[in-house]
């Protein structure tokens, strides 16, 4: 007799537990407001990445096309993947001394793991993270970028 | 939980040939390779030490010798020792397997064999774990792979 009672109580417990689950999915079925999907390409205009979002490495330039990179190579040294290469030049400055300036600050986005060591260790805060995240390109060579803009110069600190 | 001194005494009583180098953090025990299994067996079975949990096992290549390192813990008393064994034969290093005591050692030993080329005697299945059979032993310090590894 006991086993028969157990048989039927099992059935009812089973059905009620199934109903509990169906209530949850049913609840969401009748509350379409709970939809969390973002309509990505449509919301591009309003999509704002977080201010600290690590999309890519950029070198901020000010209005006069000046950047802060001295070409010291610390970022290149700190990069664990070799995704930064710095080509430097030596040019004479106003006082006639030879001074090191960057020719090209090459950044291989394809190798970057966004560990942030270059940005953190840069002594002159010349690098920053950009919020751009749509990096897909058809040609891998396009992922190699030159960070300093053409014709840009190093910003001289007011002494 | 036994402190370092008590453990030292007990281990010395198990195996007089052990050395206790000055460890920075944990109690380190260097045991001759041929005594490793018997010492580990005693460490595991003795009710005072009861080292029943092999946290990890690895090897270090010192170019002149290989060192096999076992980190043992007792889940009952929570004391921890580092058991080491030096293998001076770097060409064909071999040591007893601890698989019979710790089942997990089977795979740690296979990994060590894979990466260092240390053979384990009495191991039930001495095959490479990760890499192909004809690949070298990459964690040896004199390993060179011109194709896959770019040295900076």
């Amino acid at each position: 007799m006991n086993s028969i009672a157990k048989y039927f109580s099992d059935i009812f417990k089973g059905i009620s537990s199934l109903w509990a689950g169906m209530r949850i999915t049913g609840k969401y079925f009748f509350s379409p407001g709970a939809i969390v999907t973002q309509q990505y390409p449509e919301n591009r205009a309003t999509l704002k990445m977080e201010e600290r979002f690590k999309g890519e490495i950029v070198m901020p330039h000010d209005a006069n096309n000046l950047h802060a990179c001295t070409g010291c190579g610390i970022c290149e040294m700190n990069c664990p993947n070799g995704s930064i290469e710095i080509l430097t030049d030596r040019v004479a400055n106003a006082e006639g001394k030879m001074e090191r300036v960057i020719d090209k600050h090459i950044y291989h986005l394809s190798m970057c793991t966004f560990c942030g060591l270059c940005v953190k260790t840069c002594p002159s805060d010349a690098l920053a993270f950009g919020q751009e995240f749509e990096h897909a390109v058809f040609d891998r060579s396009k992922l190699t970028k030159v960070l300093n803009q053409p014709g840009s110069k190093i910003r001289k600190e007011a002494k | 939980m036994l402190n370092k001194e008590e453990l030292t005494d007990i281990i010395r009583s198990f195996e007089p040939e052990v050395e206790f180098p000055e460890g920075k953090q944990l109690l380190e025990v260097i045991v001759p390779a041929e005594k490793l299994f018997t010492l580990a067996e005693k460490l595991k079975s003795d009710s005072k030490t009861a080292f029943n949990y092999l946290i990890t096992m690895t090897a270090v290549d010192f170019l002149t010798q290989m060192t096999v390192v076992y980190h043992l813990e007792s889940t009952e008393f929570r004391h921890l020792i580092v058991l080491k064994s030096v293998l001076s034969d770097r060409e064909n290093p071999a040591i007893d397997s601890l698989t019979a005591l710790y089942p997990t050692a089977e795979y740690f030993e296979r990994e060590v064999f894979d990466l260092f080329g240390i053979r384990f005697n009495n191991h039930p299945n001495m095959k490479r774990l990760f890499l192909e059979d004809d690949y070298g032993y990459p964690l040896r310090k004199d390993f060179r792979d011109e194709i896959n590894i770019i040295e900076r």
Binding site: L18, I24, F53, C115 | -
Partner: protein, 375 residues
């Protein structure tokens, strides 16, 4: 037991029905290959084949500085990236005997628990999906998104946030950090009971989980199965309790233990750990002390010659880092004892004699992350 022995002694038949589960299989959660020998639907034995994603992280560590190693550890167990980071940071800090600011410890502990929550949520999704309850996948991911948003706001990345650095943090957390965690906890405390209603209480689920994949405490200890999987067998292995680090000695929490050792016990442990993580978070989130976000460290870290060992509790078990230093800026030998490595190899022991469907449940309940096995 070894595969060779099983093949020779137990099987000995010519007509083994061997299927390869993986490397591309929906439920191995990565490139793991299980060579499964079947008799009908019943599993006779299985052989795990790993190494499909072996990247030689330990070898790479030998060429990198300690700061650079951090970002490699992210890529072992990507779901507990923060804990992996912290393990390396702590081994360096302890070796250098750096005093880490209290603020850093608190933030790290909060991040640990957030990361554990995110990881367990993902596990819940994937486990439900392994058992065929596809809806659970989306509910879990929906809630995990909240945590990832917190991460993104503070560190700029969602999954692999190399946020720790030896001595402290890369930068301070976002001003919104505490508020968003409190919001999240409030939200998730309402959502977690839904998980129970959807899956835990479900009679089909319970039948699939109870009594399957029994792992005794001895097996768990012998195979070194740690984390929630080991605690489901009654193996008390919570490093947060055994050797408290970070701010874990300042919070009240319980080590969740279950004694049954089956799939359902491991499930229950993880579900309870989610509640426990929220408790820890609530205790910490309002008490973050003011201070620096990093200790003063030299730009080039050279560990004194010697050997160092540090363990932390990741979402999947015990991660141990063993460093041999020769005084240079990069380690002489770095060994990661990753939890999944040990957790995987117990599968043969606990899945013999079960059905294929149970095999999926067992591998789901062990919560394997394959890159963590291969490193």
């Amino acid at each position: 037991m070894s595969e060779e022995i099983i093949k020779d002694v137990i099987v000995g038949e010519q007509e083994d029905y061997i299927i390869n589960m993986g490397p591309q299989h929906p439920s191995t959660h990565g490139v793991l290959r299980l060579e499964v020998c079947l008799k009908g639907e019943t599993v006779k034995y299985l052989i795990p084949h790993v190494g499909y994603i072996h990247r030689g992280i330990e070898k790479m560590c030998e060429a990198n500085t300690y700061q650079q190693i951090i970002h490699l550890t992210d890529r072992m167990d990507y779901l507990s990236a923060h804990m992996n980071n912290e393990a390396v940071c702590m081994v360096v800090e302890n070796a250098m005997q750096v005093k880490v600011p209290e603020r850093v410890k608190y933030i790290r502990t909060i991040l640990n628990e957030l990361n554990r929550l995110a990881s367990h949520q993902l596990w819940w999704c994937a486990f439900g999906m392994d058992l065929g309850a596809l809806t659970s996948f989306f509910y879990g991911l929906r809630d995990r998104e909240m945590i990832l948003d917190i991460f993104e706001e503070s560190f700029g990345s969602r999954l692999l946030h190399s946020f720790n650095t030896p001595g402290g943090l890369m930068h301070d957390v976002h001003p919104n950090f505490q508020n968003r965690i409190k919001e999240f906890i409030k939200y998730f405390r309402k959502k977690l009971p839904e998980y129970d209603q959807l899956l835990t209480g479900n009679v089909i689920f319970q039948n699939r989980a109870i009594g399957i994949g029994l792992m005794s405490k001895e097996t768990a200890i012998g195979y070194g199965v740690t984390g929630p999987s080991g605690r489901g067998s009654g193996f008390s292995c919570d490093v947060r309790k055994i050797a408290p680090y970070g701010a874990y000695d300042k919070v009240q929490f319980n080590e969740i233990l279950a004694t049954e050792g089956d799939v359902f016990a491991r499930y229950k442990v993880r579900m309870a750990e989610m509640w426990e993580s929220m408790n820890i978070l609530e205790q910490l989130v309002d008490n973050i002390p003011e201070g620096d976000f990093t200790a003063k460290m030299k730009p080039i870290i050279k560990l004194p010659a010697g050997e160092y060992f540090q363990r932390v509790e990741t979402a999947r078990g015990e991660l141990a880092v063993y460093v041999v230093s020769d005084g240079n800026k990069s380690p002489y030998r770095m060994k990661f004892r990753t939890p999944n490595f040990s957790n995987l190899f117990v599968m043969n022991e606990i899945s013999a004699g079960c059905k294929i469907a149970d095999l999926i449940a067992i591998s789901g309940s062990l919560d394997l992350v394959i890159p963590d096995i291969d490193r």
